[in-house]
Symmetry: D2
Subunit: 396 residues, 4 copies
Amino acid sequence: MSFQNPVFIPGPTNIPENLRKACDMPTIDHRSPLFGQILHPAREGVKKVLKSDAAEIFIFPSTGTGGWETALSNTLSAGDKVLAARNGMFSHRWIDMCQRHGLDVQIVETPWGEGLPAERYEEILTADKNHEIKVVLATHNETATGVKSDIAAVRRALDAAGHPALLFVDGVSSIASMDFRFDEWGVDIAVTGSQKGFMLPPGLAILGFSQKAMEATKSATLPRTFFDVRDMEKSYANNAYPYTPAVGLLNGLNQACGMLLTEGLENVFARHHRIAEGVRAATEAWGLKLCAANPSVYSDTVSAIRTPDGFNATEIVTHAAKIYGVAFGVGLGEVAGKVFRIGHLGSLTDVMTLSGLATAEMCMADLGLEIRLGSGVAAAQEYYRANPASAHKAAA
Amino acid sequence: MSFQNPVFIPGPTNIPENLRKACDMPTIDHRSPLFGQILHPAREGVKKVLKSDAAEIFIFPSTGTGGWETALSNTLSAGDKVLAARNGMFSHRWIDMCQRHGLDVQIVETPWGEGLPAERYEEILTADKNHEIKVVLATHNETATGVKSDIAAVRRALDAAGHPALLFVDGVSSIASMDFRFDEWGVDIAVTGSQKGFMLPPGLAILGFSQKAMEATKSATLPRTFFDVRDMEKSYANNAYPYTPAVGLLNGLNQACGMLLTEGLENVFARHHRIAEGVRAATEAWGLKLCAANPSVYSDTVSAIRTPDGFNATEIVTHAAKIYGVAFGVGLGEVAGKVFRIGHLGSLTDVMTLSGLATAEMCMADLGLEIRLGSGVAAAQEYYRANPASAHKAAA
Amino acid sequence: MSFQNPVFIPGPTNIPENLRKACDMPTIDHRSPLFGQILHPAREGVKKVLKSDAAEIFIFPSTGTGGWETALSNTLSAGDKVLAARNGMFSHRWIDMCQRHGLDVQIVETPWGEGLPAERYEEILTADKNHEIKVVLATHNETATGVKSDIAAVRRALDAAGHPALLFVDGVSSIASMDFRFDEWGVDIAVTGSQKGFMLPPGLAILGFSQKAMEATKSATLPRTFFDVRDMEKSYANNAYPYTPAVGLLNGLNQACGMLLTEGLENVFARHHRIAEGVRAATEAWGLKLCAANPSVYSDTVSAIRTPDGFNATEIVTHAAKIYGVAFGVGLGEVAGKVFRIGHLGSLTDVMTLSGLATAEMCMADLGLEIRLGSGVAAAQEYYRANPASAHKAAA
Amino acid sequence: MSFQNPVFIPGPTNIPENLRKACDMPTIDHRSPLFGQILHPAREGVKKVLKSDAAEIFIFPSTGTGGWETALSNTLSAGDKVLAARNGMFSHRWIDMCQRHGLDVQIVETPWGEGLPAERYEEILTADKNHEIKVVLATHNETATGVKSDIAAVRRALDAAGHPALLFVDGVSSIASMDFRFDEWGVDIAVTGSQKGFMLPPGLAILGFSQKAMEATKSATLPRTFFDVRDMEKSYANNAYPYTPAVGLLNGLNQACGMLLTEGLENVFARHHRIAEGVRAATEAWGLKLCAANPSVYSDTVSAIRTPDGFNATEIVTHAAKIYGVAFGVGLGEVAGKVFRIGHLGSLTDVMTLSGLATAEMCMADLGLEIRLGSGVAAAQEYYRANPASAHKAAA
């Protein structure tokens, strides 16, 4: 296995050297006070990254998908009603999970490439006079389409409708990379993982619960043990887990939060935006369009790039891996074959990004697309030069 | 954090240098063929460690507890009947999980320190003419009491009763350290984790499913998504996971299996037995007794050592951590305060073990127990010298 | 410290992941047979990389400079005559070392940018009827100017003159990256280090001695102890060193040789040539010239690129480090300020190289040079696409 | 290779986890300001560890032996007179190096096991009316015999004789483990390496030069280039080296100094003394004697233990390595076969030490010595319990 080139998948991301080392930890006793010295600061750090004062932070040895299940199974009972929009593969999967857990999902089908339809949410919530809808799902950043949604608008929809439903946000590919405001947006459960904005290996589901969400755990009857936050809560009070925690990853998470907070969250977000703008400049220079419908929904963590009709975009990904040893993301679901994705989140520099763009150019040219070599690179270079990165070196 | 001394908790174990390095891996694309080159050999390796030709191997980014939940939720429906004995904290927890998932558990209360009551199982199964019992749970090695049970006898009980129930075995603290025969014993689901016999960091639930267990997944209605083995099965066929896999740990698992199989499973088991015998010789020299009722149930991976009445055994663990920087295990549940535990599984040498025994001696003496310094060490030295370890260096 | 971008200095090079891990080794007893299992294969590997059957390989905890001193002090006596050409900073430094050791160096001043003057050597050697010249120095690859020389031609000069002088070759920035033929070229001492073609951290001087060079050690009277190859030779026979060896680096060297030989030396050389050609294509596209006088002396490990008169080339290096976090090499000595250097040896892919070229472009543009953004990148892309690298992935 | 057990050679020592990671560093540009941020603090740290305000610190990619050569070749000329005592293998080797460099060594033969004869030094220096002796060599800790010497007494001898000779001290196995006072003792050159008290891998020669020693570099005519401190001094001023520095080891050295100074030097020394006392208690319990003649010269970093007449002590070392996977040190030179050595310097706990003692006991018993198993362990346990280590955990 060669590990020479950076990866450009939308997570797991390139792991900074110091986080590699933080995770690579000898065994300690996970029932000792020493473990508490890792666990509690890690949870505090996550809370700050979520911009929350009050969220209860839970961290499971699992993934973002496990985080979704934690959110549902701890707060809902079979037959409960859930409102969700489907605008990409990841919102689709969360809906699918709801259905498999016996929940009744009211699905708002939304074109892939558009953001969450807050106005439609407001209509539905207003119409739900009996407040049968218990939870509203919102995917902050659709990793499949490179589309970010306006969570504040979803909160306004709930408020305008005077609806008490819980607001669950999938922030897997946004948290720690794009602005996320747990308290201000009235989020009840936020879900993320270790392998995106936190720049760690996969293996952690990371969640924040509001007090209202904690309250809901008391009446929820969906079966749960591994993902039960009440067990977790009790154990945390004793510096422990209900089972064996992933100590090394928690140590890494603690350090990752330290890096992010030292850099400053706004700097982190600005850095991601800047890198993303370079990728978008390249895309335009290539004469291609993003899957994302318009600039207001452009994601700063992943760009899904549409290729011309009749061209199988997946070939770019296969070719890049085979010929150049570089990993991009394929299109998923409705946009399979129509887009390829460049992940640009986590620990990434101008220089690394340019190497990804140069690779994409070579692949497209190799596969017969009319791409002028160097054109996207030049556009990104121009952008990066014109917008110097004073902050971008912080997350090393 | 100091990492100078070995740990003597019954898992996570001391991680060998090469497995540390195998897990500490840069990011690769987990949807690429490269990932398949890690995943499939790892699954093949686990199958061999289970001594199975036909088991389907599933590996989740989770823990042994997640493995228990995988076993239950994939094969059972609410209200299903389960037979289980409670002879320690871990069998207790699995029973508790069943109950929280709405299963009807027939519990055979068994003294802590004794093995599974195969005869009692046979009686109950024979009496269950309508075959309402769908699953028999069996904890192969009770980590809380240092007691191993005779799984072949449980299988004989099922067979003698002509009962079709599935046999689920918790092998978390036995598999890869003590003899385990998936096929020969007719195990339907075996559950373990990465952090015990496989000598890896925590973070993986590892399971083997028989074809009969796979069949049961079709009718089971307990809700499951994250732990659904059918999704896993489909994804494996594409070198993938239904979500982001813990690539580094899988790489470590692949290498761990290689180490174990190169050493030879029988050598691995003999090595564990030999190290354990030294600990038991020391225990006897100290004038203390094991929690395990008799030699036939002595565990080769963990010894729970009873301290004299009126003495709080937990103090030994606290004192060892505080004064000598060594981690032992406390007593849990019924035997809390009555035993302390020495984990002796995974990558351990005579020399490392002697350092643990020397520490235990100092702690007991410090806390006022009448222990002659050097006495347990001498007994173990005697045993190790008389039983030279030709094989014990293999798992480095 | 951030380690996100590759380095483009002409050594130390980017260290492949597996070599990082090979060097990062716990302490072993360096007087045990285990050490011999590292030392001897490492020496055998080096011998093969040198294309020698008979060379004695010596490895010191030192650097290439220490290797130069080893060559001189083991074979010469104060006042001995040495023939050397000065065509760059590194040939200059070796000459300087000779003089500081009391040797009488006949210096052939040679324009920086040209290769060794084999014809001039032949004249001088032919004129040296009394064979007072004991050693001929030859810098295979001048790292300062990016110029390779024809060592076979130097050997022919010696032979044509019928001169018995020893031939010492500085292969620090060529060996393991460019073709080197110890036996065929009649090299008497070859000198290199760990941190270039072997892709390891710095810390080793690596030498091959011919039997004729070994013979010379007997009469040489320059004082030496640390660098005495006779002590080394005796100790090697006992799996040992005369002092504490750098065990981790030796372990890395052993593995590095394995990588190179598995890839195949000719493939390694072709890979370096291919990467270098891309850099040269970019240089041409920028409208710039190499310091190297003509294609026959172009180095495949480093390119020294001349910038326009009146421009301080060092600013590119400073700017790249400060603004883009990328390390290039400055000009040294006569060409200080006139060239900047791109190192392209060791573990490097197309993709990594393109990121270096993109960075150089941005720096030159930022500093006011008339460089079209993307132009060099495009030229290199064109070359790499037209000359696919089937072998280039081997040195991972 | 297995790395399960600690090593008990008198260096290289067990490397703490954090120092392993500090040394394992990706490539940086060693001519960049970043390098200065490693180099200068490392040199400052060493100066503090030497208890010096004014020493010039030099660090070479080499070993302690290279450090000896640096001391001699930078300050002396062929034929210069040196005074030295030979009381062990390492003092012998330094004398041998002097002779090979053409120096005229007045050797005071001293029984192996005794310390430096300060009184005899005083007589000789007093008799040297013409001050022909330029340098006095003093081995602070003879690693071969486990004997420390009184450097303050040597300084008093020089002062009493009113003699201007330089005082060179080999502190390879004492510095950073035992009290060393560069300024107070009037040391002119102190020599050590990375792999002992600094707990790093081998690969660095570390020296302190007094201003008087710096002055001597001006007139010294022994040839030197690699080891020339004047080149080093000039380069340091530019954040650089005259050649490629061992960046990773320097980074480790910087961190090692931080660890030692945070713990507090006196605590470090007390910790070594305490661990050593346990080993000496065990030795006495075994009925054996140290090579060191009396308590005033007992070394706190290594114990050379005499075995009964007619017994080949080297067999213990061979047997320990082969059967128990533990490394001890053999006897060297005059005491070869008569002693075996237990290194007890660097990162070592009670618990680790006890494992070494338990191993030594098993080996001696296996080889037929009349050793009661557990006896030495018990004596050390008794000592460690009675002398609790509040400080000993600091150097992790």
